[in-house]
C-alpha cells in the first residue's frame, strides 16, 4: 500500500475542523458567563505549552504515530497499556461527540426521529471516510473548511443588528475565578483534545510541520471560536450559558429583512461537518490503535465493527440531555486531564531522557517491535 501523506495545509484544516466541530454549537466556557470570550483566549494560551509538547513528540519521530512512540518509550508491555488507555480515550471521545450530535437532533432538529438513526448515519459516513484514509479526510477538510468559515462569518455578520454590545460588560464583573474555570474547560474542550491527532499526524511531510500545523491551527481555531463566543454572548447576554446549544439559539434570532430568517440550519450544516470530521479522527485513531495492539495488517479491517460499537456505546452513554450537560460541564475537564496533560508529559519526559541518553538509538530503536 502506498504511504499516505497529507500536506501541512490539509493537516491544519483537519485540526481546525476538529477543534471547532462541536464547540461551535455546544458553546465553550459557559462557567465564565459573559466573560467566556476571555476564557477562550485564556484557554488557547493554556493550550499552547501542551500543544508544543505534542508537536515536539511528533517532530522527534517522523512517520511514527502516538502508538509507535508509546511503544518505543515504554517498551512492549507498559507501552501497550498506554496504548490501551489512548484507545479508550479516543473511543470514548468519539462516542461523546456522536452523542452530542444525537442529542442535538433529538432536542432541536428532528425530535420525533429516534436518536439512534442520525447517530448511525454519522457512524456510516465516518466508516466510509476512515476507510478512505487520512488523505481523503484531509482533502475533504481542505475543501469544506472555507465553506464553513464563509457560512459562519456570514451568519455572524447578519447577527450584528441583533447584537447588544453592552452584554459584554461588566468585564471581569464576577472576578477571575469563573474565568479561570472557564479557561480550563476551554482548554480541555476542545483544545487539548488535539492530543488524539498525534495518532494521525504521522503522515505529515517534514519534521518542522507538526509545530506549524499545531500552532497555526490552534490560533486560527481559537480566533474562530472567539468570534462565535463573542457573537453568542452579544446576542444572548448572560443567558448564554443556560442553553444546551447556544449557537443554535443565537442564530435563530438572526433575521435579514422579512425573508431571510430562521437560518439556524446553516449552523447545523457546520455542526454536521464538524462532528463528521471529529468522529472520523477519533474512529481512525481507535482503529489504528487496535490494529497496532493486535498486530493487524491494516486498520481498515475493523473499521465497521468499531464504528458500530462506538455508536452503540454513545447511545448507552447517558440517560438524558441533562446528564450529558452535567457530565460535559462538571466531569469532562477533570476526566480528560490525564489523557491530555499528564500522560503526554510522562511520555515527553521519558522520550527526552531516552533521546538524550542515546542519540544513536533513535534510528535503530524506533519500531523494532510491532
Amino acid at each position: 500500500m502506498r504511504k499516505e501523506q497529507i500536506s501541512d495545509k490539509e493537516a491544519m484544516f483537519v485540526l481546525i475542523i476538529y477543534y471547532i466541530g462541536s464547540s461551535f454549537i455546544l458553546g465553550v466556557g459557559g462557567e465564565a458567563k459573559n466573560d467566556a470570550w476571555i476564557s477562550v483566549i485564556l484557554g488557547v494560551v493554556m493550550a499552547v505549552p501542551v500543544i508544543l509538547i505534542y508537536a515536539r513528540l511528533l517532530s522527534l519521530f517522523p512517520e511514527k504515530d502516538l502508538f509507535d512512540i508509546l511503544d518505543w518509550a515504554f517498551g512492549k508491555w507498559i507501552g501497550k497499556l498506554f496504548a490501551l488507555v489512548y484507545i479508550w480515550y479516543s473511543f470514548h471521545l468519539g462516542a461523546l461527540v456522536i452523542r452530542n450530535f444525537g442529542e442535538f437532533t433529538n432536542t432541536i432538529a428532528i425530535p420525533e426521529t429516534p436518536m439512534i438513526v442520525p447517530m448511525l448515519c454519522i457512524g456510516i459516513i465516518c466508516t466510509v471516510a476512515v476507510t478512505s484514509g487520512i488523505e481523503v479526510i484531509g482533502r475533504i477538510s481542505a475543501a469544506v473548511l472555507p465553506i464553513l468559515i464563509i457560512i459562519v462569518s456570514t451568519v455572524s455578520l447578519m447577527a450584528i443588528p441583533k447584537m447588544y454590545f453592552h452584554f459584554l460588560k461588566p468585564i471581569l464583573g464576577n472576578g477571575f475565578l469563573p474565568i479561570i474555570k472557564g479557561g480550563f474547560s476551554v482548554f480541555s474542550f476542545p483544545f487539548a483534545e488535539s492530543v488524539l491527532l498525534m495518532g494521525v499526524f504521522s503522515s505529515l511531510k517534514t519534521n518542522k510541520s507538526p509545530y506549524r500545523v499545531y500552532l497555526l491551527g490552534t490560533v486560527i481555531a481559537g480566533l474562530l471560536i472567539l468570534m462565535i463566543t463573542f457573537r453568542n454572548i452579544t446576542v444572548l447576554g448572560s443567558t448564554y450559558s443556560k442553553f444546551y446549544f447556544p449557537a443554535h439559539i443565537a442564530v435563530s434570532m438572526v433575521s435579514l429583512g422579512d425573508f431571510l430568517q430562521r437560518i439556524e440550519l446553516a449552523v447545523a450544516v457546520d455542526f454536521v461537518f464538524g462532528v463528521f470530521i471529529k468522529t472520523s479522527i477519533c474512529l481512525l485513531v481507535t482503529c489504528k490503535g487496535i490494529a497496532k495492539l493486535l498486530r493487524l495488517n491494516d486498520y481498515r479491517s475493523i473499521v465497521i465493527q468499531v464504528a458500530l460499537l462506538m455508536v452503540y456505546f454513545s447511545y448507552t452513554l447517558y440517560d438524558s440531555i441533562m446528564e450529558m450537560a452535567g457530565w460535559a460541564f462538571k466531569v469532562y475537564a477533570y476526566y480528560a486531564f490525564p489523557f491530555q496533560v499528564i500522560f503526554p508529559i510522562i511520555l515527553f519526559v521519558t522520550v527526552e531522557i531516552k533521546v538524550r541518553r542515546g542519540k544513536k538509538k533513535l534510528q535503530t530503536g524506533v519500531g523494532t517491535d510491532g
Binding site: H92, I116, I290, L294, R295, L296, N297, D298, S301, I302, I304, Q305, V306, L308, L309, Y312, Y315, T316, L317, Y318, D319, E323, W327, K330, V331, Y334, Y335
Partner: protein, 71 residues
C-alpha cells in the same frame, strides 16, 4: 427490528468475514469476528430495550472522588 439487525449483521459477515477467511488472514478474521459478536450482542440487547450500564456514572464518581482527595 431484530430481524433487520440479523439481516444486517449477516450481510456484514458476508462482506467482511468471508473475504478474510478466503484470504487466510486469520488474525483479522478472529478480531473482526470478536468485535462483530460484541456489537451484535449489544445491538440485540438494545433492540430488546435492555438497559446497558453506562460507564459515565462510575467515571463521574471516580473523578469526583479523586478531586475531593486532592482538594
Amino acid at each position: 427490528m431484530i430481524v433487520l439487525i440479523i439481516i444486517g449483521y449477516s450481510l456484514l459477515a458476508l462482506f467482511e468475514l468471508i473475504p478474510f477467511y478466503h484470504q487466510k488472514h486469520w488474525r483479522e478474521f478472529w478480531v473482526n469476528a470478536g468485535f462483530g459478536f460484541c456489537s451484535f450482542t449489544i445491538a440485540v440487547l438494545l433492540s430488546f430495550d435492555v438497559n446497558i450500564p453506562s460507564p459515565s456514572e462510575p467515571i463521574k464518581n471516580m473523578v469526583m472522588f479523586v478531586i475531593r482527595k486532592l482538594v
